[in-house]
């Protein structure tokens, strides 16, 4: 299975993960500071700043796009509960 590497800048940990994993699954296991609420892409609690490697995440769904827009999320931000890792290297931190 293809692998990817996600670095959580706030806790200084890089995690090797299988492609297809969602950011929140990794964040929760490693204990990074990304908090979450509904885990269904509605509440925007898990808003995450993508420092680099945003192209290595699957494009946001219509739902995620709408929630990001509704909450006036700056560019380069994603919902950790929705953002799926597809490969390469990604660096993130809590928004």
């Amino acid at each position: 299975m293809p692998k990817a590497k996600v670095t959580f800048q706030d806790i200084g940990v890089s995690v090797t993960v299988p492609a297809g994993t969602r950011l929140i699954e990794v964040s929760e296991k490693v204990g990074a500071g990304i908090t979450y609420g509904c885990r269904e892409g509605e509440c925007c609690t898990c808003l995450t700043k993508i420092i680099s490697g945003g192209e290595n995440l699957a494009s946001p769904s219509v739902l995620e796009d709408q929630v990001l827009k509704d909450n006036m999320a700056p560019r380069g931000h994603r919902l950790a509960c929705q953002a799926q890792i597809i490969g390469g290297e990604i660096v993130v931190k809590p928004a």
Binding site: G12, V13, S14, V15, V17, P18, G31, Y36, E42, D70
Partner: protein, 423 residues
């Protein structure tokens, strides 16, 4: 005087503004977590302008008949141009599907986060969704000579909540904010008797976990001219309404200055049957102290009750829990603390677990699961030590404390792990 004495009609609360809510004097608990000794009320309001009528919130579904009867006494359904939803919890939106059937021409105004809830709420009706407009602070609706202005006040106590200000009259419709579960047909704060206990109880259980949002909302509300506050539960606040805003500010602000605020704080709770988990706690605390920049406090749960630790936990940056394992579980005083934290916000705090065990040692993992469930971050694997910790094992406890302190102060060395190793 619970429900008796109230007419079947609407009650005028200001010229052209009526209460059309319902009283529920027999309710004895609300949302399971709140006791309601004299019931509650579901407050809904009608505002008449020159060009149309606005309805602010509705009532719980099984009180819809009261709501519609009162509404019909002051407005026709064809006059309703505007429905404002300050909060979509079912006790305020229960009569909405029927209201939309009776006034299909009405436009619905709600916060952006309420849109998903509205769709979910109307799902069973299967009909065409109403025209709805998401609004935020300073958006306005002109009713003709009267203006409704919205205030974005989320998380009080759901993500969708907002307030609506009737500009020309200085009336603020606040949803659950400044509300309480108190049922009295006299309706107004200067006529119902002493309801302060209920106001404070409601804040403590409903609003306290969201105190940062309370302060944001209060900052939006304080500059307004306020002649009356119309909450969605409990007495309508027409006498000295600003006092209730001040009280919210007080309640959301720690009363005494926190002397430890300049440093990160780590609170270590433990309970110990033979002193082994206590020795682990002391070593962990010493390790954390040695890093500097972290103020560590140690508490034996055997010497306290879970309720008194809530204030401490609310203010702490990090929490570590130590428990022996008895019959494959952490012990009850630990669970008492960990099951009494719904009234404070612990999301994002640092959490950790440790404990000595004799045979199976499940307590540490169970505590970690609970901490994650409470949305604390648990970046360091907890420490389980079989029976009596020796010098090397006490050193491991010290190192755990050091690592927790480094997490709290952001002084960590970079490390690489595989997700599979964390599972």
């Amino acid at each position: 005087m619970p429900a008796a004495g109230l007419t079947d009609g609407a009650v005028e609360i200001a010229p052209g503004v009526h209460w059309v809510g319902a009283l529920d004097p027999h309710l004895r608990s609300f949302d399971i977590i709140l006791k309601t000794a004299n019931g509650t009320s579901y407050n809904s309001y009608v505002v008449r302008g020159e060009n149309g009528v606005a309805i602010i919130d509705t009532v719980k579904e099984n009180f819809a008949d009261d709501f519609f009867r009162r509404l019909e006494s002051v407005a026709g359904y064809d006059e309703i141009t505007t429905i404002v939803l300050n909060h979509l919890e079912p006790d305020h939106s229960g009569a909405l599907p029927e209201l939309l059937k009776r006034a299909p021409q009405a436009r619905v105004y709600l916060s952006s986060r309420a849109q998903m809830m509205l769709k979910a709420l109307l799902k069973p009706t299967g009909g065409k969704p109403p025209e709805y407009i998401p609004v935020t602070t300073d958006d306005q609706v002109d009713l003709g000579g009267r203006t409704l202005r919205f205030l974005h006040t989320p998380y009080l106590h759901w993500p969708d909540t907002q307030c609506t200000y009737l500009v020309e009259d200085g009336l603020l419709f606040t949803g659950d904010i400044f509300g309480c579960h108190f049922c009295d047909a006299r309706l107004f704060n200067d006529t119902v008797g002493d309801f302060r206990f209920s106001f404070e109880y409601y804040y403590a259980h409903i609003m306290r976990p969201f105190r940062e949002y309370v302060l944001d909302a209060v900052a939006l509300i304080e500059p307004l001219e306020l002649n009356l506050i119309a909450p969605a539960h409990g007495p309508i606040l027409r006498h000295q309404p600003r006092d209730y805003v001040h009280r919210y500010r007080e309640l959301a602000t720690p009363r005494l200055f926190n002397e430890a605020r300049s440093e990160k704080t780590l609170v270590v709770f433990y309970i110990s049957a033979y002193g082994n988990t206590r020795r682990m706690a002391e070593a962990l605390a010493a390790g954390a102290e040695s890093i500097g920049g972290v103020r560590v406090s140690l508490y034996d749960l055997e010497g306290g009750e879970s309720g008194i630790f809530t204030d401490l936990i609310e203010e702490a940056d990090g929490l570590a829990f130590g428990s022996p394992t008895i019959n494959a579980d952490a012990v009850k005083p630990i669970w008492d603390v960990l099951s009494s934290l719904t009234t404070v916000n612990v999301k994002g705090k640092l959490g950790a677990a440790f404990g000595s065990y004799g045979w199976s040692g499940e307590a540490v993992r169970l505590i970690e699961d609970r901490l994650r469930g409470l949305k604390l971050r648990v970046p360091v694997e907890g420490l389980r030590i079989k029976l009596v910790p020796d010098a090397n094992e006490l050193e491991q406890c010290r190192q755990l404390g050091e690592l927790l302190a480094r997490h709290l102060t952001g002084r960590l060395e970079h490390r690489e792990v595989d997700l599979a190793a964390l599972a």
